[in-house]
């Protein structure tokens, strides 16, 4: 009973934060003057301009997916299959562009390739390209795709690496006995990990469709920015919703395909996690290519953006000014980020439990169902939350005018993520540890407190830190819902960008980078400790 009530409560909370706003929003977009109407949808699908916007979104997603794969698949291969030196350093560095908010990398590259940018000057001097054409490239769909690929290629890389490490090495060994590396990679390895790669490409495609920060920064007209404009410039929330419709339809469709087809398949082929190691190719030339390739990516994705920002911030006084300017933002970001991460961890804990540990017919449907919401664009969530909470009566008004609407926004955006993280940790703990307590007649709360929570310690810390990182960088939802005086750092950054000197913008960007990388550092530091713990624990939890 305790269990049912608790889990029911948190599931209801999830429905309220994530599901309700979206459904509500669509419901209202279908009514006009109190009656049922398709008028907003008709406008969209019949207007040439909107068709162009939809196409733009698709082009952005397609190019980003292609570029991310070009960088991510080889990077994953070199990490998993060769004797690349400094492998872990490379891996962690490659995570940085994914961890720090995407628009930061955008700001850096825009500085570099903008009309007065260093690289622009260099290129226009030594090549026939004009400064305008270079700058135009940056502020175009192609530039946006380039930046977004830097942000998202780690997804492809990680999933490729994971898949490669999970192939049963015997399958490749039996090929190596008879053939060359090329043959084995082409005919055995690649087909085996193809589903995992396709799946990762699909995730990148979906995430690029719902990206708001970079298109907004580079003034590219796509669906997410269009929703924002309709809502905040024209106060036309119904039109905003109607524009969101094709976006959500496409993403949810893809998400279902990904879940049903690829996810199932990749597990089927890879089978159980192989405990017998991974084949590593020892060839010298392969290592050399790996070093060159990874260094190139490293420079492009990490060194260039971060150095640009550092050089751009010029003096210490820039940081001083930035701090002064963003004092409130920094304070809010830390506070809201912590509250958001705590909310996400607690609710994610129970949702993860629900999707992994509860035996019911619902179980198999809940997990992918929660995951679906990760694809919902931030701006859509923002509009939906305002729709639900902006009403005069009681609790809603309280939420609407306070920091809690930001927390709810974080919840709506990242609950799918935090619950997924928790679910993965729950998967590693055998049901019998809990049943041993049940048989002894302990109450569910006592079992939670004494057994489940302590065993999940690492998962809880990981979920909190990752949630915090994402909350700190959140832009798309916050920018729509934040009440006056409650702006967070990304909002400050976007506001000052228009009218502040470049050095302050760079300094602010680096402050955000610091605030996201610090938790990552903590995470890595403790994961070392927990890994040794885990090795011990796994001896007991056979």
């Amino acid at each position: 009973m305790q269990k049912k009530l608790t889990l029911g409560f948190f599931f209801a909370l999830f429905l309220f934060t994530t599901f309700l706003p979206i459904v509500w929003m669509f419901g209202s977009s279908l009514s006009e003057d109190g009656g049922f109407s398709f008028v907003y949808y008709r406008d969209i699908f019949l207007t040439q301009r909107y068709v162009r916007v939809i196409l733009n979104s698709l082009i952005l997603a397609t190019i980003t997916t292609a570029l991310s794969s070009l960088a991510g698949i080889p990077a994953g291969f070199f990490l998993a299959k060769t004797n690349l030196p400094l492998k872990n350093v490379f891996k962690i560095c490659f995570l940085i562009p994914f961890i720090i908010p995407s628009y930061i990398v955008g700001i850096a590259w825009a500085n570099l390739l903008g009309r007065t940018g260093f690289l622009n000057t260099l290129l226009s001097h030594y090549t026939p390209l004009s400064p305008e054409s270079i700058s135009n490239f940056m502020y175009s769909l192609y530039g946006a795709s380039f930046i977004l690929s830097i942000n998202l290629f780690p997804v492809v890389m990680l999933m490729t690496e994971y898949a490669l490490k999970n192939i049963n090495p015997r399958l490749e060994e039996s090929g190596l006995i008879a053939g060359s590396i090329f043959q084995v990679v082409r005919q055995i390895t690649l087909p085996l990990i193809a589903p995992a790669i396709l799946s990762s490409m699909m995730i990148v495609f979906i995430l690029s469709l719902s990206e708001f920060g970079i298109p907004s920064l580079l003034q590219v007209n796509v669906l997410t920015t269009q929703i924002f404009t309709q809502f905040s410039a024209f106060y036309n929330e119904k039109a905003a919703t109607a524009i969101a419709f094709p976006l959500i339809a496409i993403t949810i469709m893809l998400m279902i395909v990904e879940q049903v087809y690829f996810r199932g398949k990749s597990f089927e082929i890879l089978g159980r996690r192989a405990s017998h190691g991974t084949i590593r190719y020892q060839e010298r030339w392969l290592t050399v290519i790996g070093i060159l390739f990874c260094t190139f990516i490293f420079i492009l994705c990490v060194v260039v953006p971060l150095t640009t920002l550092m050089v751009g911030s010029k003096t210490v006084s820039a940081y001083y000014d930035a701090f002064n300017l963003a004092k409130n933002g920094i304070k809010n970001t830390i506070l809201y980020g912590s509250l958001g991460a705590t909310f996400l961890t607690v609710v994610g804990f129970f949702l993860g439990y629900l999707s992994e540990k509860v035996q019911s017919k619902l179980r198999n449907s809940i997990a992918p169902f929660i995951w679906l919401f990760f694809a919902v664009p931030a701006t859509v969530i923002g509009v939906g939350l305002i729709k639900v909470c902006n009403r005069p009566e009681g609790i809603f008004q309280f939420i609407y005018g306070s920091l809690w609407i930001i927390i709810l926004g974080y919840g709506a955006r990242f609950l799918p993520l935090s619950s997924r993280i928790m679910a993965n940790y729950f998967k590693q703990i055998s049901n019998s540890t809990e049943e041993a307590g049940i048989v002894m007649g302990a109450s569910w709360f006592r079992i939670l407190k004494k057994i489940v929570v302590p065993l999940q310690g690492y998962g809880i810390v990981a979920a909190w830190l990752i949630s915090f990182i994402f909350c700190v960088g959140e832009l798309g939802t916050t920018i729509l819902v934040y009440p006056p005086g409650h702006e967070t750092l990304p909002i400050t950054l976007f506001t000052v960008m228009v009218n502040s000197p470049a050095d302050i913008v760079s300094a602010l960007s680096l402050i955000i980078v610091g605030m996201t990388l610090l938790p990552l550092g903590i995470f890595l530091a403790i994961s070392r400790y927990f890994l040794t713990m885990e090795a011990k624990v796994s001896r007991v939890l056979r």
């Binding site: 049943e435 049940i438 007649g441 006592r446 011990k536």
Partner: protein
């Protein structure tokens, strides 16, 4: 007095009936082994007794009180007062041995001093006293096993349930732990249900064995009865080595076998197909044996040979210390045989 009564219990998982009308009872102080191949429903049955699964039909009585009837759970976990040892032991890795054992005692609300006394006593019983403050990860597999048992019996439960507790233990250790289990069970006199797929476990530990197959209890009897008088063809083939020869009943107590007509108890049947069952050691190769066959295969199994003797409709197994050539014609007799119905 029966501590456990299971009556016509049925459990459906998904669309499959995994337990199909199982009934048995366990007397106070007895150890019942539920023996069967994997997937026969034995673990599910145990989990229903523990209250971890809800039966779809049937009754479970614990110590004379109704625990569950059909899909209604009458007795809570606490009221059942059961100890359980899980297949993966399920020791809590973040708690010391002491804390692991203490958990159940706290549930029943003992004071600190009482708890300490009981924990020390039970650790003494399993000879693990010096490990009280260790974490489970620092113990060997066999020691973890003993702690899991200590944790299950410390509350002096009415019933101890063990779910294949030896399946993760090295072969050499198994024997020792098995002896320990036997000793602890006898000393504490705790009524036990022990689920296993290992015949040796069942034979060495159990007062009674229930052989399960495809969700049904095929036979409940003492180990000797199970071995010498299997109640069904499945039991005969599953337990030990056996010979089963197809036979046809032609009249009351009269069957036709590959060697011709025999008289044999047919349990009242007058027509139909059956199998003639006998163990390999009930076959004796001797000069004036009743039947004739050809040695097909010879295997040395330590101290004696196993011979496969070819007969008109198949082959039979027997043991012998003497050496016979392959292809040699031998005569043999069957000391005791029984009819089984499939």
């Amino acid at each position: 007095m029966n501590v456990l009564e299971v009556k016509h219990v049925i459990k459906i998982l998904g669309k499959k009936e995994v337990v199909r009308g199982v009934s048995f009872e366990v007397e106070r102080g007895q150890l019942l082994a539920i023996l069967g191949p994997s997937g026969c429903g034995k673990t599910t049955t145990l989990r229903m007794i523990a209250g971890l699964e809800v039966p779809d039909y049937g009754e479970i009585w614990i110590d004379g009180a109704l625990a569950s009837r059909n899909q209604k759970i009458v007795m809570s976990q606490k009221e059942r007062h059961i100890g359980m040892v899980f297949q993966d032991l399920a020791l809590w890795p973040h708690m010391t041995v002491y804390k692991n054992i203490e958990f159940g005692l706290k549930t029943i609300g003992l004071t600190r001093a009482e708890r300490q006394k009981k924990i020390e006593a039970v650790l003494d019983k399993v000879n693990m006293k010096k490990y009280a403050n260790e974490y489970p990860a620092r113990l060997s597999g066999g020691q973890q096993q003993l702690i899991a048992i200590a944790r299950a019996i410390v509350t002096e439960p009415k019933l101890l349930l063990m779910d294949e507790p030896l399946s993760n233990i090295d072969v050499q250790l198994r024997d020792d732990i098995r002896k320990e289990i036997k000793r602890i069970q006898q000393e504490t006199g705790i009524t036990t249900v022990y689920v296993t797929h290992d015949q040796e476990d069942a034979f060495l530990l159990a007062d009674k064995i229930a052989v399960m197959n495809e969700g049904v209890v095929e036979q409940i009897d003492s180990p000797e009865e199970i071995y010498f008088s299997p109640g069904s063809l499945f039991v005969a083939n599953f337990i030990g080595e056996s010979n089963t020869i197809p036979a046809r009943i032609v009249d009351r107590d009269k069957v036709v076998t590959p060697w011709g007509e025999l008289s044999c108890k047919t349990n009242g049947h007058e027509r139909g197909d059956a199998f003639l069952f006998f163990r390999p050691h009930q076959v004796q190769i001797e000069q004036n044996g009743f039947y004739e066959g050809v040695i097909m295969k010879q295997e040395f199994i330590g101290g004696r040979y196993r011979y496969y003797i070819g007969i008109p409709q198949g082959e039979i197994k027997c043991y012998n210390q003497k050496i016979y050539r392959i292809g040699e014609l031998v005569r043999f007799s069957i000391k005791e045989a029984k009819l089984l119905f499939s």
